[in-house]
């Protein structure tokens, strides 16, 4: 009996001497695996409970994007793999393979950047969508023609900014992208300023025409040699109708020029 006992103790000691690192590495891997799975579940739960998951899904659905995997699942999967990599790294560390260790150490220092980039993208999508909604609604209220363009414009500008920030987080050079987007934004800005320069004075005059009513729809007026019946008074322009002709006059003209109103 004691012989067998001796043998068992000896072999156990051998194993303990021979494989302690492997056992430790195995334990670390298993713990890493469990934590990874739990983290994925946890993130899914957080995204679900905070309503972010439904929000992201809605945005994806509306945008008609189909990449086979949703952003919310992607976040869970990436987090899981980050934990796996950390576990693998620690296991290798225990085994003492230094060459591999350095590569993975570099990778791990890189991981927070990936996490931040992910968070930025998620927040960016939500902020972009909300901002687009607000801009769209405001433009609709102000009766801006083709108001949905303004909403989409806001959305894509925010997306562009978010992509640049996210890319710079994972240390990819974004200089060219920034230059390109700046040029586009500048062009847009200039167009907007030119357009507003034309429209703003007309709108100001339009408010005057609508609220102070110097003339009403149905009045016979003469302006700049055009004589006719006022058919419609809009915010930007006013339509007068003569025999067989409709004349559209920018509202600012009514402030600058003399208007003759015919009395019946």
């Amino acid at each position: 009996m004691s012989q067998i006992e001796d043998l068992l103790v000896k072999s156990w000691n051998n194993i303990k001497e021979f494989f302690p690192n492997i056992v430790a590495a195995g334990v670390i891997l298993i713990i890493g695996y469990i934590i990874g799975r739990l983290a994925q579940k946890g993130i899914d739960l957080i995204l679900k409970k905070t309503g972010m998951r439904r929000y992201l899904e809605r945005v994806e659905e509306r945008e008609g994007r189909d990449i086979g995997i949703s952003i919310s699942t992607l976040i869970g999967v990436i987090t899981k793999w980050i934990i796996y990599i950390v576990a693998i790294m620690s296991a290798i560390n225990v085994l003492g393979i230094t060459g591999l260790n350095q590569v993975i150490a570099q990778l791990v220092t890189y991981l927070p950047n990936i996490v931040f980039a992910m968070i930025i993208i998620v927040l960016g999508i939500i902020i972009g969508d909300k901002a687009a909604g607000i801009v769209r609604y405001t433009c609709e209220e102000l009766k801006v023609p083709k108001y949905w363009i303004m909403g989409n414009l806001t959305r894509y500008i925010i997306y562009a900014i978010v992509i640049i920030i996210a890319l710079s987080q994972i240390k990819i050079r974004t200089d060219v992208l920034i230059i390109g987007i700046t040029i586009v934004l500048m062009a847009l800005g200039i167009t907007l300023i030119i357009a507003l320069k034309e429209i703003a004075p007309n709108m100001a005059a339009g408010f005057h025409l609508i609220h102070d009513t110097p003339f009403k729809i149905g009045d016979m007026i003469e302006i700049d040699g055009n004589e006719g019946v006022v058919d419609n008074i809009g915010l930007v322009s006013t339509t007068i109708k003569t025999k067989g002709e409709k004349i559209i006059i920018p509202n600012s003209k009514f402030l600058k020029n003399v208007v003759k109103k015919k009395l019946q």
Binding site: T213, G218, M220, V229, D231, N232, K241, K246
Partner: protein, 276 residues
Amino acid sequence: MNSALIKKALELREESNSDALIVYINSKKDLESIRSLKDGKIIIITNNKSLLKKEEDFPVILMPVELPRIKRRIALAIAAAIENKLIEDGYNVVFVENTDKYKIISIEKAEDGIDHGIYRLLSKTRDIDPDVIYSVLEITKELGKKGREGEPVGATFIIGDSGNVMRRSTQITYNPFESSFINVKDSVVKSMLKEYSRLDGAFIIGDDGRVISASRYLESGKNDIELPKGLGARHISAAYITKVTDAIAIVLSESDKMIRIFSKGKLVLEVDPEEL
């Protein structure tokens, strides 16, 4: 367009011995898939003007208004085909539509009736937005069906050429729509206009649907206006206004609850709101 859907519709046309297949589409992609079928007997109905640009082997007809209700959409699509002399009264027609929400195949019997008149009216408005006419027609329909608080009610809507109409009318009481930008195409406005219909006088509505005035007393006259016997001052003045301006008038009679539409001084359509 779902290719299985159109295939099924073609089969159904053969099986049910129908005379025509009407397809309601709005995108270029759908038009291309129809084109690839090389079937000259399909009739396309669309809201999208850009689909009319190219000459096709099959007829493409524009539907001037976007109709929310499917029953009306089918009826007006058939009316459009009748107006273009592609089908006749009594034909069997297969109707197909594929929207985001639902897919429809329906076998219908073509009927040359009220909808034909409505389609003709909607497709021949020059300056007036067809959606505006349709919205006003909906309002008068509801007013005619239910009245206001159970009492039968009369109403007059003068649409388009608002400058000249305003010149030929005077205000009875204060205009509640002064300096406002209320549009009949907004669904909220429906109930509002119904309430204001208790005011005496006509509603004046612009080409674009803006409600310019309520409670307007219309100038009236008799010259060369022929109306069926029994129509009163409301109808005569509405007909007269359409004679002397480019406006059209939609009138709901208080006595016989009929909707009558006038254009150029003539009665162009007479509809019972219950049938609409």
